[in-house]
Symmetry: D2
Subunit: 344 residues, 4 copies
């Protein structure tokens, strides 16, 4: 029987992707849609400017949107997917957890808190048990798990495949799609025939979230990975798909062939939305490319390519669909993990 779920912030870019993924999902049934106060009381069709490239599901279109408030969400909803702006998330997510809801959140608030698990299931599913610590400390009946930022999710699985070699230094340049900023985040006049070498707070997210994700959880507390990461972030005129150039220096020698093998053999999970393989490594030097490769594994795979020696260690490129693997799909996957591990 399907778990009844809700979407907090259902009208935005990630909210629409969540609906696109959840509507046909056999384990979940959408039972609540929330948005800002000005949308409350409208049907979803009226409230959302739908821009995903598949039609709004009919039943969703006619659903009435409520305010993002625990009192407005039916109590028989067990799991909430949150794609709220972080300023809103910081205010309203905790009250939902207090009321007993389990929240799988894409919002950036609280990601680095030491009792909130930040999870990519194929990378650090064991961190989910930090929820026990969280409940103890916060006295919540509910729980909150976060997925990382879209640009973090793109390169961390490739690093995870290389941890045995001893990660020491990572440089990463990102070429990020406009959808990552939301529907009205980047105006066309800003980006056509242009690129913007700055995305507010983004570099810090790659640098800190990656170390938390690759850290160790001993059952009581989480230590971050000791590698050092430096990121440079750019927005470019693509719709979907973040492409990243990565340099990795490791303690042990690491050849491109060894790295290719490690990435190809890195295990995926049996969760419904996990792709197999998790990381698809191209031999062609000009791949991956956003428009060509962002839909691999239904948008949930990580693509890699261009592995070569640099004067400073290994160098390669990687890519993921930023609103599927990097946001909505990441939250759905965490929902599947919560279900498998018995948290809902």
């Amino acid at each position: 029987m399907a778990v009844r779920v809700g979407v907090l912030g259902a009208t935005g870019a990630v909210g629409q992707r969540l609906i696109q993924l959840l509507d046909p999902h056999p384990d979940f049934e959408i039972a609540a849609l929330t948005a800002s106060g000005s949308s409350a009381g409208k049907t979803y069709r009226q409230a959302a400017k739908w821009r995903v490239d598949s039609p709004i599901p009919d039943d969703i279109a006619d659903t009435t949107v409520t305010a993002t408030d625990p009192d407005e969400v039916p109590t028989d909803v067990d799991l909430l997917f949150s794609s709220l702006p972080s300023s809103v998330g910081a205010e309203v997510e905790a009250p939902f957890c207090e009321e007993g809801y389990v929240v799988s959140s894409n919002s950036s608030n609280g990601r680095m808190d030491d009792d909130i698990p930040l999870v990519i299931p194929e990378v650090n599913a064991d961190h989910l048990d930090l929820l026990e610590v969280q409940r103890d400390r916060r006295g919540w009946d509910g729980a909150m798990v976060k997925n990382p930022n879209c640009s973090t999710i793109t390169f961390v699985p490739t690093l995870a495949a290389l941890t045995d070699f001893g990660l020491e230094k990572v440089h990463v340049s990102t070429l990020q799609a406009v959808s990552g900023a939301g529907y009205d985040g980047v105006s066309s006049m800003e980006i056509i025939d242009n690129a913007i070498p700055y995305i507010g707070s983004e570099e810090d997210k790659l640098e800190t979230e990656s170390r938390k994700l690759l850290g160790d959880f001993d059952g009581a507390s989480l230590s971050h990975n000791s590698m050092a990461v430096s990121a440079s972030c750019n927005r470019i005129p693509t719709i979907d798909g973040h492409l990243e150039n990565v340099w990795v220096e490791t303690q042990d020698d690491l050849t491109p062939d060894e790295a290719t093998a490690a990435m190809r053999e890195y295990p995926s999970l049996d969760l419904r939305s996990s792709p197999d393989p998790l990381i698809q490594v191209f031999d062609e030097p000009d791949r991956p490319q956003p428009r060509m490769d962002r839909t691999l594994g239904d948008g949930m795979a990580i693509a890699a390519g261009g592995l070569q020696e640099s004067p400073f260690g290994l160098q390669y490129n990687c890519l993921a669909h930023n609103t599927i693997r990097g946001a909505a799909g990441a939250s759905v996957l965490n929902g599947e993990l919560l279900l498998e591990k018995g948290y809902i």
Copy 2:
């Protein structure tokens, strides 16, 4: 009195930019235009598919294009600007030098030869005297000077401003405009809503040309700079302007403020096409941007911004107009230097 000049490879993307820059130039007078055999005998208007955003100068439009052959170029032409494909340049440039022509070339062939000066005038004008060695060794009446690749020119001036701090390691990611590949180099189906993390041979150019440019010439031979450089090159959907993310590790401590000061104070030259300042450093973190900043200094300035500390030293972005500062303007500037130093 103006020097009579010719353009080898006049119909291509860089050739058109050369004409756009040379036609109004007070020191040079266009007296010869060459192209491939199929264009020989046609007027320039017939031979070139003009795509620069200013009209073809009238007198140029009616000039008859000749084959790229020393026998077809008037002997009273003193200076040739070459923007030939490298495979063609490798065959035909040397015969022009043997015949006594001085060639300022943008073609990549021969750039790393140890008796061919590779010059950005504001950076290493003293390397031009390698021409004495060249003439001795090759027995040429003419001479050949090269300018670097467009992506190399974009970041080397910023490194030149930092040499006092002891350059050790440089990582650079490039976001390159389509014009760098020539008019038919990148098809629209390849690049709309996309990015390509590979440009053939480009990474090697940044890594090796930069070390030659920042090397020392002792009057007899040239030693390359000892820094190590690793580049990752990407093509993105912009028309003009290469943007680059740079990380620099130096022997001495280097703060963002010191780097900003060093770049702002780095001297330009009195040559007609040299901008003042050479490097324009933005305080706004989201600049430089290709469409906004590529025409600074009539397309000859280097723009920089986003200077900040990284875990590994200094991090910043830089940008230059790839077909002006990075190609045609670079060759014209070398022509001006040849003139000032008495080589023509």
Copy 3:
């Protein structure tokens, strides 16, 4: 049992779409791939620069490509899909028909010949019987059917729905995607931040093919529709999907509501690739849009919208996926019709 089919010109943009559509098709089995002489003998993976957004089917990748020559194609292949350049098609298609092959062709050569049926199955399936006349006249064992140009296919179904009102005058402006010109047809430097108000021979195709498609076949000969059509064609920076602005003047009064109803009720067919409905009419005035609506009906639907009164009759917009409904899918659909009508 599946019909064995071949693809002539299998490496180009439309050829790749044909393979993408035919590979999973239950009625057809790909048994031959041809291309230009330089590709003959290579595997398809080597010969084609694959740019469709799904991977090359494995069995196709390893198929050896042959020259486009009747002697090179197995005789047990019954149906050939042709997406050759028209200059090549004009030379080689007829010899295949002489040898007994039935050809469903997307190439523009011969489309207006009076014994070659030009067919959109949902619009004029009855024209297919012109094949009897063709075989009589040409003495072919095989046969040749053509589908129209991509920009013609986009607007003709909407006109077909309005024929009862007496079509008199049609103005149409097209906003066409770059894929219509083939992979290297439009360079990125031509089209980024630009539009080109000219596509060679395109206007004539809309004006003449539409009148042939909507003409009457009396069993012996075909008379063209008496309406007059004037087209203005533009290339814009979109990857796929032709959008068209249409004005129609009819003999009888025609309101937007009547036109909407006529389009929505216009019947589709039972063929496997025919969408249902054929024409999807939007109420939202800003639809259809290429990126949002080109994949309706798996890329085989016609989308319409913006129906309103103009000072001169009806005005509306329509859209179709130019390389699926407008090219590869059109040929496959004609193949399905040939099969249903017993021509293969």
Copy 4:
């Protein structure tokens, strides 16, 4: 001596273009900048997100922005250029006129009022004397002149050149740049790899403004031109430059050669911002194109091309820079006309 002028709505897209044009203008001196209340009190550099491709003039950057209120603008300012949103313009422009200011406005409110002259100087400078009627009727010491919408300005000059042939029916399809919607008007997610066949209220503007512009003023009242116009408007992914496909049916026969001659000979004016020629007609069938031709005549020329016979009369394309000739430059030109005719 320069006239002291102000800019109402100085921080928007058109406001920035106005400053770019007025700052170096020898007849005008910028003495006031207004914007919405939230910007009042800030320097212009703080208030405006400058996105024009030349730097903010230094003196302008440090000017304090005031609210858009007659009490806040110095009384020695004689002429105001207005680029306010129409809803704001409808409220605040008239009070400025009552207070004695002469307003040259680009805002759409009031354009069709029968005592407000709607003027393109080279087309209908004589309409300016409608200001006498306006002052009589409204009791204003000041005055208000409007320029038309950007898409109207693009095609009306070409029609003006053809009036002798008896204009009867005009169909026009527009391919409009994103800058026409203001800096945040079109999000990148809406328009990359896309086109939108709808711009709110735009079609009506082309249809009605064109008839007012080509009407007759008898000294007392204005009659509109009797031609019928139908427009279909599209937004495409270009930064600047509106391209339009036009069909014209005339009372008298009109060949493409006659139309070409009429456009080329159509007189310009001696005003400082009027280009010469006004209309530049290309022989190349694929011109004009937005990126190539929008800066002709410093962005003030009208480009035309593709003149040919259609089944229904003449067919051609035209283009103008929408934020220069179509907006800011149009207002400046009307300011120059006001000055020449002694209204300021």
